[in-house]
Symmetry: C2
Amino acid sequence: MDIKAYMNDLGQRASMASRALARSTTNARNNALLEIANQIEQSASELKAENSKDLAAGKANGLSDAMLDRLALTDNGIATMAEGIRQIAALPDPIGEITDLKYRPSGIQVGYMRVPLGVIGIIYESRPNVTADAAALCLKSGNAAILRGGSEAAHSNQAIAKTIKAGLEKAGLPADAVMVVETTDRAAVGELVRMDKYVDVIVPRGGKGLIARIIEEARVPVIKHLHGVCHVYIDDKADVEKAVKVAFNAKTQRYGTCNTMETLLVAASMADKVLPELNKLYQKEGVELRGCDKTRAILKDINAATDEDWDEEYLAPILSIRVVDGIEQAIDHIHDHSSAHTESIITEDIVNARRFLTEVNSSSVMVNASTRFADGFEYGLGAEIGISTDKIHARGPVGLEGLTSRKFIVIGDGHIRT
Amino acid sequence: MDIKAYMNDLGQRASMASRALARSTTNARNNALLEIANQIEQSASELKAENSKDLAAGKANGLSDAMLDRLALTDNGIATMAEGIRQIAALPDPIGEITDLKYRPSGIQVGYMRVPLGVIGIIYESRPNVTADAAALCLKSGNAAILRGGSEAAHSNQAIAKTIKAGLEKAGLPADAVMVVETTDRAAVGELVRMDKYVDVIVPRGGKGLIARIIEEARVPVIKHLHGVCHVYIDDKADVEKAVKVAFNAKTQRYGTCNTMETLLVAASMADKVLPELNKLYQKEGVELRGCDKTRAILKDINAATDEDWDEEYLAPILSIRVVDGIEQAIDHIHDHSSAHTESIITEDIVNARRFLTEVNSSSVMVNASTRFADGFEYGLGAEIGISTDKIHARGPVGLEGLTSRKFIVIGDGHIRT
């Protein structure tokens, strides 16, 4: 198989389809989503049959139970997938919105129109429900999609692709609007991320290795999410009860998520007041604490944090703790070690709160709230394609708007420039 | 000289300075700009002395008169440079603006805060005034800048850099906030565009060759402007007088700009009505016309357009003309040949106007207005760092807002996720 020619054909067809999508009506796109949801429900037994092939291969290849669990399509999972698409269909249409249309001294009116990006390439691993979810977000925002899932879910992804294409055709939109790459050859990823003629943006959803490789190879712009080394800083002026509550929640509400706190910073004046209580709560949950010297002067039984700990995304019941002089040192620590994902200050002081909000340069900066809130649904975006730790285009949780851009529109009545 | 170490040092210092800028007040940044403007005026004779070295070297190296003209710093040019910086100082501060702060069902407030990107790398050619102009735009938007001008303007750029540093210091901001690369070694560009640890975005200002090289090498995101193959389409339903007026202005108001029309598309039903009149006007200005067969059936004396003409950015008094069936074919032609910069439809028909606005996927799409309006000042942005033909982040004329991004801010009162 000539991978380059194959991917080129996919790109060209997706690009053609994206033009049809750009001129499709809100209703046409919503109907397509509802048809796809129906097709998924009606194809439940076929989806499970194809999924079982992936599961069998996964078992034979020694995938871990956790991996197999993420790979499995259950009746419940299929219903959730269909329901997710219906929820996306119900969101307001971001496309075509005209804003800020104003008269200029020359007499022309100038404003913005929100438009699709064109063709979005999504590269992801294991979970087959991403196929349906990502396709739905792209369609809702008027974009064509080229989806490249993991080889371990190849049968499941192709089965879902079939339901998507059937739904698109039923709604009168081109089936090429969603292309699921059929080859599991890794060279296909290399082609996809360099096809800047046809692909407008790449959204990788996966582990660090995948993303690092894409960044290295990509010619197409990438909306990327590197990792989450999130901090909570308990300020001199913190309320002890709120501090304990938020620091406990930010670590223990879920361990494996990118918005989980990995390092707790505590102002020296507060360390005595919050650390013993937090220690008790964390011990009860089995969280391993690793502290700086000042922390260990208070919590004598915990391990010492190494230099590496401050940069670590544990994704596990482990927490590093550092006692700092105050807000200045806290912000410096965050600047040096944070992944610019999400940081929160606990304080009753408006000066420190404003300073933290201004000076901490992360995609989400919080006051008196758990880092676990950094999420497209919690923020009211209605949907989320990922969380961006980039600075340009989309930053933080990326909803439908991150899959669009704004072009200028100008309305005149025979106006010329003089 | 170890270019890698040198650039790394520049990057590190600019990155440190960007943190000071991010917490600087609106007044501090404006004062710095006013001080820089003063310094430039006070250093006029020194600037001219250094500039004369570049001019002498340029003459010795056989630069064209046009190139030397762009390189020259006159008294008038220096005054304009200072005045331009004062105008930038007078613009509203984009930084720190909080928008859309709304309560969510969980009780947290979620909104956006506009923030600087961090460190901006600007790579440009010949005109030394870009040094002052780009530095001012970056400072106004709270960003540090690393500027890499052309070797032909090396003395002038360093002299301007001195005035900028003096102004920054007078205003109490770090002199490292604007770093002008001192080496003329081209390897410095290669380092700059790959220093993603320190540089947040690259803005190239120069010809196709420069930009192509940067795209090929860059690891840092690039806000780029490729070229301008702009179209005016005279629709079936156009007003003849407006059509002639706009098509004449879009080509002849200036030839060398990226928003100049390069191809005129005319609906078949209008060709007889507009082409003879336009031909007369263009002939008077010495514009060479190159037409399709249908155009040449009406304008018998003009040359035939070749396939290459439809993709050409002439930047010269040359215009290609194609007669099309109607709006459908016009949009198809634009899709195939436009550089997605600026296109305009001339029509009295609201259905065709809306269709053109929706379906033409360019950074500026116009109705009954000259493509020459595609410009940051005409659009009311107050300033312009360039025009982006990218789809993500900033599209079309890029003002201060294009040098910023929005982070999420979350305000709670001890809120936790459950």
